[in-house]
């Protein structure tokens, strides 16, 4: 699925997708409880577990608690998730007793569309009743966005993904911004960072509008503006992301190689 090689904008030694995954993995603190979606989130979480966060506790919506996959799961319920898990519980239990209960420190989410306040669309592109593109739908995302203490969003920065207005609000970030999320009464504090293939966005403390705070090596503010469907706010001093370490790249590529083998 990933178009890493084709949209490589970084220097030769690693791809922009690799930089994105590595940057996302660095957001996961060791020992934290992490609710993981399939795809890029799972890739980043397992990279973290294999590098700086060996003690992180991965929860998948299929009910696997403390999952320790040795290849990246292709589906949310792969056997490899149960194999080494500390416990396996029912789907109602993982959503009620774990996510809703506030036991999840970090939720890792992907998205089809995201807006300036970190609201997410994974339902439809275009009008709901005559949709141009019917997406898979909500899945576990709305409640991860609602109840995880904080949320990390990972997606490639493109105009059709970073939109002025979502076709559909599937999962709530900061709503209309400001205090509007608080007023909805959710227990989680909302998305704290968006990691893209270009850089890192964090919400303004007041307005909650996502602002470009860091660029990955080789990426420019201009690229970020072009890739964003709204007038992107940029921090006064934008930092540069530490490039992937050899260890990070080695582990990530090994993970993906083993995963590709498993696909066959």
């Amino acid at each position: 699925m990933t178009e890493a090689r084709t949209n490589d904008k970084a220097n030769g030694s690693y791809t922009t997708d690799e930089m994105m995954t590595v940057a996302a993995s660095r957001e996961l603190r060791d020992g934290s409880v992490c609710f993981v979606g399939i795809g890029l989130p799972s890739e980043a979480a397992n990279l973290a577990r294999a590098t700086h966060a060996p003690g992180c506790f991965l929860v998948y919506e299929s009910g696997t608690l403390g999952a320790k996959p040795d290849v990246l799961p292709l589906s949310i319920g792969d056997g490899v998730l149960a194999e080494h898990a500390d416990s396996v519980v029912s789907v109602p239990e993982v959503f009620n007793y774990w996510l809703q209960a506030g036991r999840v420190d970090v939720g890792f989410l992907g998205a089809a569309q995201i807006d300036r306040f970190g609201n997410i669309n994974t339902t439809v592109v275009g009008p709901y009743d005559s949709s141009k593109v019917r997406l898979p739908g909500a899945g576990g995302a709305p409640e991860i966005a609602a109840s995880a203490r904080e949320v990390v969003v990972i997606l490639r920065q493109k105009p059709r993904a970073f939109v002025e207005k979502l076709s559909f609000v599937t999962s709530v970030g900061y709503g209309e911004g400001g205090d509007s999320r608080k007023e909805l009464g959710y227990t989680g504090s909302g998305p704290t960072v968006i990691i893209t293939d270009l850089g890192v966005l964090r919400p303004d403390l007041e307005t909650k509008e996502f602002t470009l705070v860091a660029l990955h090596p080789g990426a420019t503010v201009e690229q970020a503006h072009e890739a964003t469907g709204w007038e992107l706010k940029v921090a006064e001093n934008v930092t540069t992301t530490e490039p992937p370490t050899e260890k990070e790249l080695e582990v990530l590529r090994d993970l993906k190689a083993r995963t590709e083998a498993a696909r066959k």
């Binding site: 949310i76 319920g77 056997g79 396996v88 709305p142």
Partner: protein, 285 residues
Amino acid sequence: MNKITILREAVAELVHDGDSVALEGFTHLIPSVAAHEIIRQKRRDLTLIRMTPDLIYDQLIGMGCAKKLIFSWGGNPGVGSLNRFRDAVEHGWPEPLEIEEHSHAGMANRYVAGASNLPFAVLRGYVGTDLPKVTNTIAPITCPFTGERLMAVPALNPDVAIIHAQQADRRGNVAIWGITGIQKEAALSAKKVIVTVEEVVEEFEPRPFQIVLPSVAVDAISVEPGGAHPSYADGYYDRDNAFYSAWDPIGRDREKFRDWMERHVLGTEDFSAYMESIRKEEVVR
């Protein structure tokens, strides 16, 4: 134990046109064999229920068995879209498909309410999303003690629930281990329950995270080894990841899809003949 029966007869007797049917499985133990039997028996106007509709729902929808889908995530896991599902929603082919969509937490709790004989379940969610605007089975509810406002969803009580399990014992109890997903609640929320199993054993042995569904909660059991393909059965066989990828081009094209289904599903007697048939085309490793 008189519950063990031939799947063809179980489907003929328990699944009727217009029924609401939940074929559940959370990527593990997906009841593919029963879905194919429903397609062979040309059931119509079904309300299909499933948290994670995947290939078998793509097939049921593409073959015109369904008039409505109640779900929370519809895709080809690790591959992409369900093209027959999209074609039905986006272009009404082969016929319009009414959809009722929820979040996973909403669907899971709807099954829990159904299994508990309660009319509704309560959860923290939906607030501020567009889901309540398009789904009328979401309503606010207030805590009578704290005054806090939460969301309620109505119970799911399918006419028939169908699951695939690893084993049944002689008394008709059913054992499932590994990832058991929403299968217990789906079965206990339904008016009738059909279970296909890998094998029948004398006695169950303890397995990690095993649940046992007592025979009194099951209406029909059919022995269908391999019946969860292309998903997996922990302890029996692995997920056929290649098939999920292979399905994408087949599902994309109406003609190709119909032709494939006629050749491999309508054109075969049962699941072993089906597997034989697709193996010939090397769709399967």
